[in-house]
């Protein structure tokens, strides 16, 4: 643990004590260093976020050839724009179209394309989302603020240890003259999970 926690007068909770015990023993056995753990946390909290995925989406929007590459061979395409270390066997990019809306879930635990989207949000790991989005995706999406028209098919992709999914959202109208950097700013994590759509801020349009 870090900072003031160490000095607080109350004994650690059971979960805290177990975590401390595990880490201290693994370090003593030479299996782990606290620096390695620090590095992982910093990487996932700060360096790897949805920004990497957003960059890829924005690039796909402005470069049709890259888009085809991203859909056909996602890991190669990502490496091609400098996004490496995918930490997953297979990454599948599913494209939203006027006829199809995609949404991703992991019904068993919390499999998630970390390398492009960062860490999963709390709700992604919640039992209600994991169980309900498969059964009644339109209802869940509506509750999350996204209404999918009846004539648009909703496809739910269940992630696994070997295959992770990422949604390629549709480029919103009114962004034709936008730069790639500006486009990347409206591609949120939720857009790439498929529970939201990129929006053009009202003040700009």
């Amino acid at each position: 643990m870090s900072g003031d926690d160490v000095h607080h007068p109350h004994p650690p909770t059971d979960l805290e004590a177990r975590t401390l015990a595990l880490e201290s023993l693994l370090i003593e056995k030479g299996l782990l260093t606290s620096e390695a753990v620090d590095r992982v946390i910093a990487t996932f909290e700060q360096d790897i976020g949805p920004l990497r995925g957003a960059r890829a989406v924005a690039h796909a929007w402005v470069d049709p050839e890259f888009k085809q590459w991203l859909l056909a061979a996602p890991k190669e395409a990502l490496t091609g724009i400098g996004i490496g270390d995918h930490q997953v066997e297979e990454l599948v990019v599913v494209e939203n179209t006027p006829a199809v809306h995609n949404v991703i879930v992991c019904t068993l635990c919390s499999c998630y394309p970390w390398a492009v989207l960062g860490l999963p949000p709390t709700w992604y790991k919640s039992a209600p989302y994991r169980s309900r989005v498969v059964v009644e995706p339109r209802v869940v999406l509506h509750e999350m603020g996204l209404d999918v028209p009846d004539d648009v098919e909703v496809r739910v992709w269940d992630s696994s240890a070997d295959i992770r999914y990422m949604v390629l959202p549709e480029r919103p109208a009114g962004t034709e003259d936008w730069s790639e950097e500006r486009l990347a700013e409206i591609v949120t994590r939720d857009c790439m999970i498929g529970v939201a759509q990129p929006r053009v801020p009202a003040s700009i349009s």
């Binding site: 643990m1 870090s2 900072g3 926690d5 160490v6 004994p11 650690p12 909770t13 059971d14 979960l15 805290e16 004590a17 177990r18 975590t19 401390l20 015990a21 595990l22 880490e23 201290s24 023993l25 693994l26 370090i27 056995k29 299996l31 782990l32 260093t33 606290s34 390695a36 753990v37 620090d38 590095r39 992982v40 946390i41 996932f44 909290e45 068993l108 635990c109 919390s110 499999c111 860490l119 949000p121 709390t122 709700w123 790991k125 919640s126 039992a127 209600p128 989302y129 509750e143 999350m144 603020g145 240890a161 949120t188 994590r189 939720d190 529970v195 939201a196 929006r199």
Partner: protein, 107 residues
């Protein structure tokens, strides 16, 4: 970014969970340590991710809806014991030492 927070809140409210800010990845430092340990052990080659994932799935299935990172911690404990990286004895003794505040190492 307020839209993202709204979505998090709506889903958190759906099943009566305490209101959470989904943008905060970890709710307590021990959760980030537990998370970081598994990824670091995987990176260092001490454990394989699929093996951990299977145990996480089992723990979550047995734990019900809540305490995600408690399941995570149980899964990694099981795995290091099964692989005999640690013994049950030393793990329980060390846990008791921290719980009794006989130890206060800083990580």
């Amino acid at each position: 970014m307020s839209e993202v927070s709204d979505v998090d809140r709506q889903v958190a409210d759906l099943d009566g969970l305490p209101r959470k800010n989904g943008e905060l990845v970890f709710e307590a430092p021990w959760q980030s340590r537990a998370f970081g340990m598994v990824v670091a052990l995987n990176q260092l080659g001490a454990l394989a991710w699929p093996e951990f994932r299977q145990r996480l799935v089992d723990e979550i299935a047995g734990a019900g809806e809540h305490e995600y990172y408690a399941s995570w911690l149980s899964a990694i404990e099981r795995l290091v014991l099964e692989h005999r990286l640690l013994t049950p004895n030393e793990l329980s003794r060390r846990t008791a030492e921290f719980a009794a505040m006989d130890r206060d190492e800083v990580f």
